[in-house]
């Protein structure tokens, strides 16, 4: 065994090691890319959850009661403003106190009932607007998630080539080792005094390429 053979063996071993390392680097890079993508998606998911939670919190009974109370108060204030400042009502013939009280009671009851209905309208509007807003925000987050997701296969493809440099070096070294091995075998045949490698099979001699071939038919020995 020559130095070439040992060198070739070492080179091939290092080359194989580098190839394994390259494969590991590829896997590691792909894992990192996938993990980053998962983290980004998780961040978007958290944002979406907050949007949904905020929206849900505005759909509770207390929130509805608050909306309805606001709508009711606004309507009552508008009625009071209009009816109190009505120029025509000041020109009305004065009613007797009993009729005036009856009239005021009827108007107040009507105002209260109508204002209550306005409160329901306000609640309905608040809910519709709240839902639209949540839909907008969730839509944007969904789109952003989709954009990142669309880029992921290409990012993974890139990550799968992260160990290419190592792999190339490994392949190079392996090839070098193989060549060195071949050279070693070839060179061994050339060493003076070295015997030809023969393997007797079924009465025939097989000669290594480096072994000296019989020069004439006369050299062939019959069994």
């Amino acid at each position: 065994m020559g130095i070439e053979f040992l060198g070739g063996l070492a080179a091939a071993a290092i080359g194989t090691g580098l190839s394994i390392a390259a494969t590991q680097e590829d896997a590691s890079a792909m894992n990192r890319t996938a993990q980053n993508a998962l983290n980004e998606q998780a961040a978007l998911q958290n944002k979406s959850t907050r949007v949904a939670q905020t929206s849900a919190q505005q759909s509770t009974l207390p929130a509805a009661q608050k909306s309805m109370a606001t709508g009711q108060q606004n309507a009552q204030a508008q009625y009071a403003q209009l009816q109190g400042a009505s120029p025509a009502s000041t020109g009305l013939t004065a009613l007797d106190p009993v009729r005036q009280q009856q009239t005021s009671d009827i108007i107040n009851q009507s105002n209260a009932a109508s204002a209550r209905l306005q409160g329901y309208n306000q609640w309905s509007l608040d809910q519709a607007l709240k839902d639209l807003q949540a839909k907008e925000q969730l839509g944007a987050l969904s789109q952003q998630s989709g954009n990142l997701q669309a880029a992921l296969p290409l990012e993974l493809q890139q990550a799968s080539h992260a160990g290419d440099a190592l792999g190339l070096a490994g392949t190079g070294l392996s090839t070098l080792g193989s060549l060195a091995g071949l050279y070693s075998v070839y060179n061994t045949g050339r060493i003076p005094g070295a015997t030809a490698a023969t393997v007797p099979v079924s009465g025939f001699n097989f000669y290594s390429p480096q072994a000296q071939m019989p020069s004439t038919y006369g050299d062939i020995q019959t069994p």
Partner: protein, 255 residues
């Protein structure tokens, strides 16, 4: 290794698109809820004047390297504008506008209706009577009801507008998501906001007291008919005290 550039580009593009969506959402919020945005988008190939102030998409003043960076991204503006936004005060004013439009007509119609009713009562010799009190009471209730209706209509119109604005913002958000082009979306939003802010013509209010007049007239007619059939009324009207048949054709009277 051949995929590196394409994947880098894809990842950068995705990140850039997402930034543009965030930016566009901010601009839409500033336009619809009130705030400042940049206007007059500059072409990325345009040169910058180092002494000039430029503006970011959200209307923040930028100069120097920051301006150059935004210009490269296609997000640099030459000026800024502040939008008041669709605040509760805006919608309240919208409701008040309808009240201001309809209420004077209501008051005018009320005065006319009241005069007509008073003339009828005067013709019947019923001024300062219980019938006039009853008419006034009824008319006062009708007026209050119509005032209530005007307030409700104004509120309803403001709420409809609020819903339209919300739907428009929603549509523009969808447009932004599809295009990832905040400047185009912001321009559309500005146009839409200007359209919503502009005063619109109100529908004619019609006859507020038509129903009341019809009912009052019908009730008056019914009362007159009933009075004609009322022996006590006839007795009073004709000063008739005796028995027998009342001197009104077709009306029998039993004392």
């Amino acid at each position: 290794m051949g995929g590196s550039n394409s994947s880098d580009t894809a990842a950068q593009l995705a990140a850039q698109q997402n930034q543009q969506i965030d930016l566009g959402m901010q601009q839409l919020n500033n336009i619809f809820s009130g705030g400042t945005i940049g206007t007059g988008l500059l072409d990325p190939s345009a040169g910058l004047n180092p002494n000039q102030t430029y503006y970011s998409p959200t209307g923040a003043p930028v100069t120097g390297a920051a301006a150059q960076n935004l210009l490269g991204l296609g997000d640099l503006y030459s000026s800024e504008t502040t939008t008041p936004g669709f605040t509760p005060a805006f919608y309240q004013q919208r409701a008040q506008d309808y009240v201001n439009y309809a209420n004077p007509q209501l008051q005018q119609q009320f005065g006319q209706t009241q005069r007509n009713a008073n003339y009828q009562l005067a013709d019947a010799g019923l001024q300062n009577s219980g019938a006039q009190q009853s008419m006034q009471q009824s008319l006062q209730q009708a007026l209050a009801q119509q005032e209530q209706g005007i307030a409700n209509t104004g509120t309803q119109q403001a709420q409809n507008l609020q819903q339209s604005v919300g739907q428009e913002q929603n549509a523009l958000t969808a447009q932004l998501e599809a295009s990832a082009n905040p400047s185009a979306t912001a321009q559309s939003a500005l146009n839409a906001a200007a359209g919503f802010s502009a005063p619109s013509a109100f529908a004619p209010v019609g006859n507020f007291f038509g129903n009341w007049s019809n009912l009052y007239q019908a009730q008056s007619a019914a009362n007159q008919q009933a009075n004609l059939l009322n022996p006590a009324f006839l007795q009073t009207l004709l000063g008739y005290r005796g028995g027998g048949t009342a001197p009104v054709p077709g009306v029998s009277y039993e004392p």
